[in-house]
Symmetry: C2
Subunit: 400 residues, 2 copies
């Protein structure tokens, strides 16, 4: 025992550092951040002139991963272009993941984030789906807090306005071999944004599309990947030519999503209650954070809270079930289809006006100010929570 050493002993010694072992690749560590403040600050456009996604703030956060060193020291620095090898995985094989979040100006002046843990978790899952390296999401969130704090002057203080946050991770392996990227760049950029539809509260018109399929069983529709978006642009251009705003994506008869948003309908039941229905998370549907929040709030009414403008006598049922386009047409015909609306981080809640299908339109009832009673209640309550006017289950998190 004193003389011979078993393999287990050797392994124990190695674990205890008795032998020199190669350094472990570093974890993502927000405390290592270096901050370089821009020499000149850009002018912040007036809130009324903001167009979604066009004007970026003064700074960005960037951190790099390689398999030997792990995550580098994060940098917060002036917004500017990335230097990317032309052979990089992100350009050649679309190993790109993003998230969409928003920072809001709270009544106390402090910036607030909305359920940021959910974005962090989804980003981690999406990155794993395209074999990008894992990262400590709590550290990424700390970096987002720091970046938002630095660029806080960009957060519009007008109701319904916010600072959109776009965390992104891209594969940077610079070899053309068709294989997972063992290198990555993780970055966060910010842009101030107003209400998604500039034209004001008008309903969105959708064209049901079945010849192009956004997501399928065994595909990637349930992940937030860059690659889910490029194939939608051509069908979207076609829909626009026909006078529709967005595509309603079908998989056969089944409704999946609308544009880049989750889709809901409100249907009157025989007993007078209202079903608020959205397709289930079967792998073809993005697990939207506004979608989850919508379902949670519907379930809370009226037992735990009364949604604004709705009577406590209005009983709502949150239903996750398959929705077909012909079922929708039938409900509309019967006068049961009270509302259709889309939800997402950028749009929050938007009313649907009509849905083109097979040369005809399913026309939704018109509502003053576009949103029906349920969609309006959700819009008001969600933005009240986001902007810190209503406290609800710690969904709104003040920036540190």
């Amino acid at each position: 025992m004193a003389i011979t050493q078993t393999f287990n002993d050797v392994n124990d010694d190695a674990r205890n550092g008795a032998y020199s072992t190669p350094a472990q690749p570093a974890e993502l560590d927000a405390s290592k951040v270096t901050i370089t403040v821009a020499r000149e600050f850009k002018p912040v456009p007036p809130a009324s002139e903001l167009v979604f996604g066009q004007v970026m703030t003064d700074h960005m956060m960037v951190v790099h991963y390689d398999p030997v060193n792990g995550w580098s020291a994060p940098e917060i620095k002036p917004y500017g272009p990335l230097s990317i090898d032309p052979a990089s995985s992100c350009l050649q094989y679309a190993t790109n993941v993003f998230e969409g979040m928003k920072a809001y100006a709270g009544p106390d002046g402090r910036p607030r984030l909305f359920r940021p843990d959910m974005n962090m978790k989804r980003m981690q899952i999406s990155a794993a789906r395209v074999a990008l390296p894992p990262f400590d999401t709590a550290e990424l969130l700390k970096l987002i807090h720091k970046l938002v704090a630095l660029d806080a002057r960009w957060i519009p203080t007008v109701k319904g306005h916010s600072l959109y946050i776009r965390p992104t991770i891209i594969g940077t392996r610079d070899s053309l071999g068709v294989a997972a990227s063992d290198r990555a760049t993780l970055y966060v950029i910010l842009c101030p944004t107003g209400p998604f539809f500039r034209t004001g509260a008008r309903p969105v018109n959708l064209l049901a599309v079945h010849d192009h399929v956004r997501a399928w069983p065994g595909g990637t529709g349930g992940y937030k990947l860059a690659l889910n978006y490029a194939p939608t642009f051509k069908p979207q251009q076609h829909a626009a030519k026909l006078g529709y705003d967005q595509c309603l994506w079908l998989l056969g008869e089944k409704i999946t999503e609308a544009g880049a948003m989750n889709f809901f309908v409100v249907v009157r039941r025989d007993d007078g209650d209202l079903d608020v229905i959205t397709p289930p998370l079967d792998g073809t549907i993005l697990p939207g954070i506004t979608r989850a929040s919508t379902l949670d709030l519907i379930r809370a009414h009226p037992s735990r809270t009364t949604l604004p403008g709705l009577s406590p006598e209005t009983l709502l049922h949150a239903v996750e079930r398959e929705l077909t386009i012909s079922q929708l047409a039938a409900w509309a015909e019967e006068g049961r289809l009270l509302e259709a609306f889309t939800v997402g981080t950028a749009v929050v809640v938007a009313a649907v006006g009509r849905i083109g299908h097979d040369g005809k339109d399913i026309v939704l009832p018109a509502h003053e100010g576009a949103l029906g009673a349920v969609a309006r209640a959700l819009y008001e309550r969600i933005t009240d929570i986001q902007e810190g006017r209503f406290e609800w289950e710690n969904w709104s998190v003040p920036c540190a």
Copy 2:
């Protein structure tokens, strides 16, 4: 008539240039190219040390598009990183298209390309699918000729070796709005390459995968898009862990592709003839140029040419039809399944050794040197044409 001018007259005048009209965006024009030669040339690795996709040549071609100016003057310049805005469409929404081609050293020393028109046409179609701007493919091909000529010293002269060419077009619209990219960068990079499988002529083992689905009807599997590749890396890692080289992609029971290659089987018929079968181009299959060439050569044997090593009495039938995994297993059971092989630009032709499915392996007959008679005949003939040793229907095009 002499006094009043109708709207039609005004339009006619505008068409005739009577009013000043904005300049047309410029077309892609190879004659405008500027060439900047690298100050230092990199050492060319010995052919025996080449690994696919890892070492890039000295130069690259880059040209940019914007909707006002159209295509810029193309640049051939030293290989180096691209400067890309973090909000760019190529990083956020995967608006990225690429091609794979090869330049070969001909017996006369001149570089040759293999059916380059087919790559150019496919690239144009793929770019349109993700709403990227069109470009004159003849001009792009001229630029590729110029770039290959400049870096011709990189073309390995060893049989089975070549200079791999990677034309790429990426969307560079720098706005986060989910919409088509109206800006683009088109570039071409080159890397010398040896036989795809470094281990020599050993068969490829495939794992049939049905839980992850590569392509779907109404999806993008029939286009050469970056976004078709990222989702394959995780299943590929799983296959590798189980001891397989690549995935055999299933759609339900149907076989679609193998790894990033088209898939063929050779089946003995009751009359003794051989069916050479591959799935049809139903939108889930990449229209491979080696695939098309394989079908053409099978159809030409023995009436128009005798494929090397095959007797003119061996009658081959090129068949594009649905292939199911259970049909494959049944043919193997009956002793009719003589060969399975994959084809693609990088690999040319590779033998399949076994196919894992539902915990069992479908084992293909072993052949000396890995390739069966049909696969070997195709490999020999295609590389003979590519490398200029055999003239066939102008498939091999000398560089200007």
